[in-house]
Symmetry: C2
Subunit: 375 residues, 2 copies
């Protein structure tokens, strides 16, 4: 059976769903691999690397004959319509914002798997693209900040005197936040971090950072994610975070609630109270922002503070973001592959959890509700 790798067409997407290094894992399982010309171009993988790794790079339509299609962004509805009934797509598929894609997959009889919906169980860790890409985002957030800060990150002892380390505050201590903490510590900054989940305090401390205690009742969510909170409590949280924000040289925010608006954690007044030249990186800018006024993909001034809003941040480190994402989708593909044949086994909780559409129906309940009468 054939696995197809598409060239991403959405703006700002530089990743590719399969890297040459991992082609052999699919061919070794008996699958043919066909790649659209230029698929890896923005991730610095020219076509000849795929050919050398055992894939075919085909200028003709790779979709019509595909049994499984690997992509980063969801396929456009018109491309889904060209797939065989029963073909499988594996990609990011944020269902609430991609209902057209869901309808197209349902109508084409395509099995659409969303990597966002892969359950967070230990057997699925190697398929967890949210985690792998959050690692990239957290790392990159620190580099963005360090490159823009007019100060050193590390304590510097020189013959001309000692300069103190930068103070970094990380809000949200999930995968991206922990990676940001670790990277900022590597660079020698003094780091403190906050998360609504009190349980994250130990992880924060194990990285050598200080955990900020706001003396609010804790919220523990399902599946390792934070749950939403009341507006009153949210305001109290913002107010108590404000002094920590204003004493930081660098603020990195990473708080996200999957499928929902990101919580507002920092108001404009707190940014304006930061030291001149401070840098704020809002990794949640695309989902509404943790910081008031952040704009995805833009760098703006708020008072004397630079506010950088993230937009597809993993795509900005395309070689390794692609490498990790490719491992995730290869592992998910191989879970469905035996002796060169792909079978969608809905009795496997990973496949069941990730499955949005199958055999002409929308299986994912929340998506069905979003579609209403059309589901």
């Amino acid at each position: 059976m054939r696995a197809a790798v598409v060239r991403e067409v959405r703006e700002h997407e530089r990743r590719v769903a399969l890297v040459p290094e991992l082609v052999g894992r699919l061919t070794g399982a008996g699958l043919e691999v066909v790649v659209e010309p230029g698929a890896g171009e923005w991730a610095f993988h020219p076509d000849d690397q795929y050919v050398a790794a055992g894939a075919e790079v085909s200028p003709s339509d790779v979709l019509e004959s595909a049994d499984v299609v690997l992509s980063v962004q969801p396929l456009e509805p018109d491309r889904i319509a060209r797939l065989k009934p029963g073909a499988v797509t594996i990609s990011f598929l944020p269902v609430s914002s991609e209902l057209d894609v869901v309808r197209a997959a349902r109508d084409a009889g395509v099995t659409a798997l969303s990597v966002e919906l892969v359950p967070r169980i230990s057997r699925a860790q190697s398929m967890d693209a949210l985690t792998s890409q959050a690692l990239v985002g957290g790392y990159r957030a620190v580099l963005i900040a360090a490159e823009r800060l007019p100060r050193f990150f590390p304590l510097s002892m020189t013959a001309a005197g000692t300069v103190p380390p930068a103070q970094v505050l990380v809000l949200g201590a999930g995968v991206a936040g922990l990676q940001a903490i670790a990277t900022a510590k590597r660079l020698g900054a003094k780091v403190e971090a906050y998360d609504v989940r009190a349980a994250s305090a130990e992880e924060v401390r194990s990285l050598g950072a200080r955990f900020v205690e706001l003396d609010l009742p804790s919220l523990e969510g399902a599946g390792g994610y934070a749950r939403e909170m009341t507006e009153e409590r949210a305001q109290l949280q913002r107010d108590r975070l404000a002094p920590h924000v204003s004493s930081a040289d660098v603020l990195i925010t990473t708080a996200a609630v999957p499928g929902r608006q990101a919580p507002l954690l920092v108001e404009r007044a707190a940014l304006e109270a930061m030291k001149p030249g401070s840098v704020v990186v809002d990794l949640a800018a695309e989902s509404g922002g943790n910081v008031e006024g952040s704009v995805p993909g833009e760098e703006i001034r708020v008072g004397q503070t630079l506010l950088w809003g993230g937009r597809n941040v993993p795509s900005q480190l395309p070689v390794h973001a692609s490498r990790l994402y490719a491992a995730n989708v290869v592992n998910l593909t191989l879970l469905m592959t035996a002796e060169g044949e792909i079978t969608v086994d809905l009795s496997d909780e990973i496949i069941d959890g990730a499955c949005v559409t199958h055999e002409g129906a929308v299986r994912h309940e929340a998506t069905r509700e979003l579609l209403g009468g059309d589901g």
Copy 2:
């Protein structure tokens, strides 16, 4: 007596020669400190910080009454002409490219001290602005590279597999190079480094990096700087460096010979052989470049490699570059200050070494030669 701090006017200069934190060291020695409005603006020090620290911020001419003038870049000839005879200027003063400034200082009877000429002796370490600014440049070079590299710097062990660390090659293991090595190591890269001075091997190794041996006869220069070499030997060096360059993800070049053209260490062919997405930072771009084709202040593509040419790199970290530079010039000023009086004591080898003009004459011999009959 009065120390004046000017607002820098040269393009791309964001530093300031005195920071509020160090005002007290001058006033404590009995000097009045007067600051041009907006002098610290680009280094994130507003005027009120200087006032709070005990300086006067004066909208009228700060030069006419100044006994010592602190600046980063040399004062323009027309500003030097406004100084009192006997006034002292302390700044960078690259004599070979600033002969107009030298003439103006001589003609005005001004004592012009060049921080580049401060002798590299241990008593003068705290006044060594070349060192303090090179520290900034070396640190920043790594951040520039890491922010632009499409890969992680550190080894990353994840559930989706392990990605190897970035390979960083540093050419020139002086102050900037050693700082670049240390910063790249902090970020988790695998680092190798080369310098024509074999003696630097131990310093390189002490930072955990590999020293590249090219099996060329070593060159040891005076004052800790590398000397020039024959063209034949230079070509051999480039040829033997080429395979190290092409296997690196990041190349940082820092090789400079003060007052001369920087040595060409890397030819275009070696850049083109680098992995797609590699990043090259040439800190020597302003003095001719260590890398063929580098342009100061520009980011260009050579094949699939990004080549970043430095232009006033310390100025890109203006808070701490200013802080360290200010300590250097304050220390130099205080060396000349007793009981609130400034005296130029040419029997002190630091003052003698740094002195370009004094009492209407050009004292610095190499500069006198450059001026020819006009010296």
